[in-house]
Amino acid sequence: MISITKTKQLTLIQAITDGMRTMLNEKEEVVVLGEDVGKNGGVFRATDGLQEEFGEKRVFDTPLSESGIIGSSIGMAINGLLPVAEIQFLGFIYPAYEQIMTHATRMRYRTKGAFTVPLVIRAPYGAGVRAPEIHSDSMEALFTHMPGIKVVCPSNPHDAKGLLISAIEDPDPVLFLEPLRLYRAVRGDVPEEKYEIEIGKGKYLREGDDATVIAWGAMVPIAMKAAEQAAEKGITCDVIDLRTLYPIDKAIIAESVQKTGRCVVVHEAPATGGLGNDIISIVNDTSFLYMKSPIERVTGADVHVPFWALEEHNIPTPARVLDAIHKVINF
């Protein structure tokens, strides 16, 4: 018997909505909460129509109170619910940092599993849409450094729905980062049914022999563009969409760099303490003797996201990534 998967053409943000809808239908314990997520459907419309469809008990507005949103979500998760909490922008999550660090990520550890926190925190992140100050932060490494929380970051509609469903099904806290500049930039086929993308698994988007380019979220199209431009000059690259930022897919990185011997990491977050360093460590641990040149990082500087008149200068561009590809090849 042939089963035909029905698909829909969705944008990344529609796929996120679809992921929440799927899980709201699937499990009575799922609740969606956050600032303006109800009638307004979220400031980006990620929860558009969900309150109408599932009622105010399941999809509800909260006070403007990030620590309250995450703190109460932790309480709900401890007591049997599966909260999906929206933080309006990643740059607004800092008041909730203490709740995540001292309770969400620690409750299983400090009770040997007697209490657990199956919580999903959704947050749009990243620069490039000319947003006001603080609306463009990309501080994923603050959370990958935190023990006890998984961090995922899709770059396309198909992965967005699958990863969100996996995050909601996960028995531990998951931070789900949404590249806001890609919300409506891409459309893709998304299965109507429930499916999961395994947390901890990256994906090849392009295969080549000369260098490995690693990116996630909003940097994926930039890495792809650079790889296309390199190909025009006869340089072929593996492009890996990391998809999960903790735990990182070590196997895919090792496999690729052992083939290419060269590696470029792209992220928009500041370089120091950034995830690029963890990727370099993985290459070091698994593939040191395979490497033909030092690894290049194309990242934001150790500065805050600039005012938007200058923000493009601090976001990696295809040209900068292409330069890095040339550098690892011409070493």
Binding site: V31, K57, T62, P63, S65, S67, G68, I70, G71, S72, S73, I74, G75, M76, A77, I78, N79, G80, L81, P83, P95, E98, Q99, T102, H103, R108, Y109, R110, T111, K112, G113, A114, F115, T116, P147, G148, K150, P171, D172, G200, Y246, P247, K250
Partner: protein, 358 residues
Amino acid sequence: MKRDIQEEFPMVQIMGQNGEIIDKSYLNQIDQTLALQFYRQLICMRAFDQKAINLQRQGRIGTYPGFEGQEAAQVGSALALDEDDWMLPTYRDHAASITFGKSYTILSAWNGRVEGNLPPEGKNILPPSVPIATQLPLAAGIAMANKYKNSSQAVIAYFGDGATSEGDFHEGLNFASVFQAPVVFFNQNNQYAISTPIWKQMNSKTIAQKSIAYEIPGIRIDGNDIFAAYFETKKALERARNGEGPSLIEAVTWRYGAHTTADDPTKYRNQKEENEKHRQNDPITRLERFMKAHGFWDETVAEQLKEEVKEEIDGAVKGLETMPPADVNDIFDYMFEKPTWPIEQQKEEYINHLRGVR
């Protein structure tokens, strides 16, 4: 018109300093059985606290935060709970959690053991909250889930006077108020946050008045009056169960001792003078006076209880000191339901290192 806060939030007393019953309407609810139950638990918790401090002095446990003086607030409120209610204690609320959980495992937490954080079988007691006030939004959330599930379970969350200065106090109370969550916020105002006295903590006259901002009932009680602690908590829990939302209780009390065994209160207050004054108002002495005045006192029974309590505490210490050694696997095994590869790898490397594998 200026409002009179002290008139709006009077200190509720059922029993006065000399053990006299001030609010006679409670007389038919207080019998010898109840008084004896309270008395036994109060002396038991005091004995526990004194024992824990001695253990620390002898190097048999680590730093310990004493609660002597606050027994009535904690025992009274804990005994008001239903068996399946939820409790969120802080690090100074062991009289509450031991009374409710009927277990002394918490003592081991002060000996560096994670086992001390585990809830007693079948009990919804969260591990003591160490960061200040952060448990209050959690309490609101647990109560919101109870409401979602149409459960009759209520929630009690403990916190101190210093916690009312934290943002999470306000975020927690606001959430509970907005969602009308079945939770009792039980404040013990022992008048000092380490060395900072209440008058430097806030410019308000009471903590109870902060309830006005959230349109929830706020009650100020004499926290050394176990009847006030018990009956006012019962009423607040009943409101919670009846769908009437959260309450804030301020129990005014006093800690005789240091913030923790690592603290020296003589640096910031006149311990001798202050404690002499507060001993007049001791929660145990007051109950004793009440029992004597009402013919509930029996010297032989009191002696028996003392012996019984001593045995119970000795048993708790024995339990602590006969625990199997801590398991090094616990370092790695409870971060996630399934460990991530970095944790698996780190565990393997470290265990091999311990075994001398090179």
